[in-house]
Amino acid sequence: MLTIEALDKVYKTGTFGTSDLHAVRKVSLDVQRGEVVSLIGESGSGKSTIGKMVLHLLDSTGGSITFDGRDVTRLGFRARRDYYRKVQGVFQDPFSSFNPIFKVDRTFETLRRSYFPRVSGAAWREKLEEALGAVSLEPGDTLGKFPHQLSGGQLQRLLIARALLLDIELLVADEIISMLDASTRIDVLNLLGELKGRGLGILFVTHDLSLGNYVSDRVVILYKGRVVERGATAAVFDDPLHPYTRDLLASVPHLDRTWEEVEAEESARSARLAGRCLYHEALAAQGRALGDEVAAGNTPADDVGLVEHAPGHFVGCFRKAADEECPAGV
């Protein structure tokens, strides 16, 4: 449904855009209906930038974003309005998502004015209560309140309800759990699972590996703007290949195994993969299959591509930052 290909973002910083910040490098991923795809990466890796480009809140520098086969990289005002009927976002900070001087109702009112100007007051009220019901909120507890009178979890669910008022097909959820406390976290996570069951595609942005593991069908691991590994959640979590993914996973506690088991497994894997780069090995193998000239010319130093190591499990060059050397010395 959503397909991102070789998406690039360069921020111009400094006066008159004198310096560049390459925040997103040739990122490719896709999200299908009824599927949760987690975009995992540490803070500053470019996750929000990708989310905002998908939501057409930021212009991309290169690459393409298509939705149901239609290019949505550059949209006019009308086309963008139509796009937002199907694609919506919820952001990290629920308190900053509401205009603090107005009651929360206004957020819904804005949506109504924009998309449902002809819906009667009663019909709208009904629709609103239905959406609030879907996120397990009581209209009486939440409507007519100011943002500071509600909890982060309530606000976050109001925002999801807002997205549900439009019959959306894709939800970009940018760290929507991070600011919530543990008790409300699980509610929102379960809600996402339910939405997925209804056929919604969700791009779930998070810096928290265990959250990614919990909700998602597939994961995309981002490091400094580059996708280093992606694949089915189980494949990536059971057999992490890229050094960055392995570091990340090593720092996550496993409930089903003891520390020693995990430690042993990881050190075995590290020993096996040390000084190697599966990406360049795969390219070299392909090159040999096609002829030596191809092998020589096919690996530019700034290559940020991926190879399919196992079916559906992709991995990039084993260097960490995009401008480092490949550990295999290619």
Partner: protein, 314 residues
């Protein structure tokens, strides 16, 4: 700012005792723009705002209604020359027997007109540029910023003198326009800075996700967060325009077809009112300008207290 601190303390005290009312107000109706009642509630309890607005309104009423009760036109040679204040001529007469009170009332009208128009022009230009620059960012911002800085470093008063001297200023509105055109840069800068910080807030992105346009976002999401600030800005611009106009008038570059408080002082000096002891000729306009501008600034300090959310969130 520091000078106003001690004065601000009593205001804070008042607010504290009014806390129950404050707690009730937000849960009441605060629809779009509907917090006016609450604001008014605090404004009417702030002595600075009350005193400032009473003085300004009193002068405004005098300027508006005064001419209805006057027998003499401002420039008529209506009575004995150099007469001190009396029942017939409450502010006395000039060297030529003109009614100073009639001139004063007419001057008040010009003063308010200059304040309103000059402040209005500056506010409109400054806010438009500030909103667009802050919201759009990028190249548009750079260009508008450059324009703002250019106008900011131009010595506005000197340019006004030159414009007035060479182009001539015949009417008060024309003078107000010139003043407005040179006094907006600080407004643009302040509005831009505030817009910039608001733009990165998620609720702006959410409004965009609701499919509404830039104009609507600025009007419905950005500006309401700055209403109090915009209002205070206008009060300051109003006072500033009056002061600039008075200075120009005083040095003889005022409108040629109207009376103004600055012009009265200019004529008083020209005809040696000081030496001749005709204090009633220059004291009223001088005091009038001082009181109006001073009250506006005091009002502004009071409004700052009224609008300060820290004083309301109790």
């Amino acid at each position: 700012m520091t000078a106003t601190q001690p004065a601000a303390a009593p205001g804070t005290g008042t607010e504290a005792t009014e806390a129950p009312g404050a707690a009730l107000a937000p849960s009441g109706s605060r629809k779009p723009g509907g917090d006016a009642r609450e604001t008014l509630y605090f404004a009417l309890r702030n002595p600075k705002v009350v005193i400032g607005s009473v003085v300004v309104l009193a002068f405004l009423l005098l300027g508006l209604l005064g001419p209805l009760f006057l027998k003499n036109a401002p420039m008529d040679y209506a009575g004995p020359p150099m007469a001190p204040p009396s029942a017939d001529f409450p502010f006395g007469t000039t060297t030529f027997g003109q009614d100073v009170f009639a001139q004063f009332v007419a001057g008040l009208r010009s003063t308010f007109l200059v304040g309103l128009l000059g402040g209005g022009v500056a506010a409109v230009i400054g806010m438009a540029i500030g909103f667009v620059a802050g919201y759009r960012g990028g190249l548009i911002d750079e260009l508008l910023n450059m324009l703002t800085n250019v106008v900011l470093v131009i010595p506005g008063f000197v340019v006004l003198i030159i414009i007035n001297a060479y182009l001539g200023v015949r009417s008060v509105p024309m003078q107000a326009l010139y003043i407005g055109v040179f006094s907006w840069p600080w407004v643009a800068r302040a509005v831009r800075a505030q817009t910039l910080s608001l733009r990165s807030r998620d609720f702006i992105d959410l409004a965009r996700l609701s499919g509404v346009g830039v104009g609507t976002i600025l009007r419905r999401e950005v500006a309401p967060n700055m209403y109090s600030y915009l209002f205070m800005t206008f009060v300051l611009l109003f006072g500033g325009s009056i002061l600039t106009a008075a200075s120009l008038d005083f040095i003889g570059l005022g409108p040629t077809n109207a009376m103004s408080l600055g012009l009265m002082m200019n004529q008083a000096v020209q005809w040696s009112a000081l030496h001749l002891g005709l204090w009633w000729w220059f004291i009223p306009p001088g005091l009038g300008i001082t009181l109006i501008v001073g009250s506006l600034y005091i009002m502004n300090v009071g409004l700052d207290e009224v609008f300060n959310p820290k004083l309301r969130e109790m």
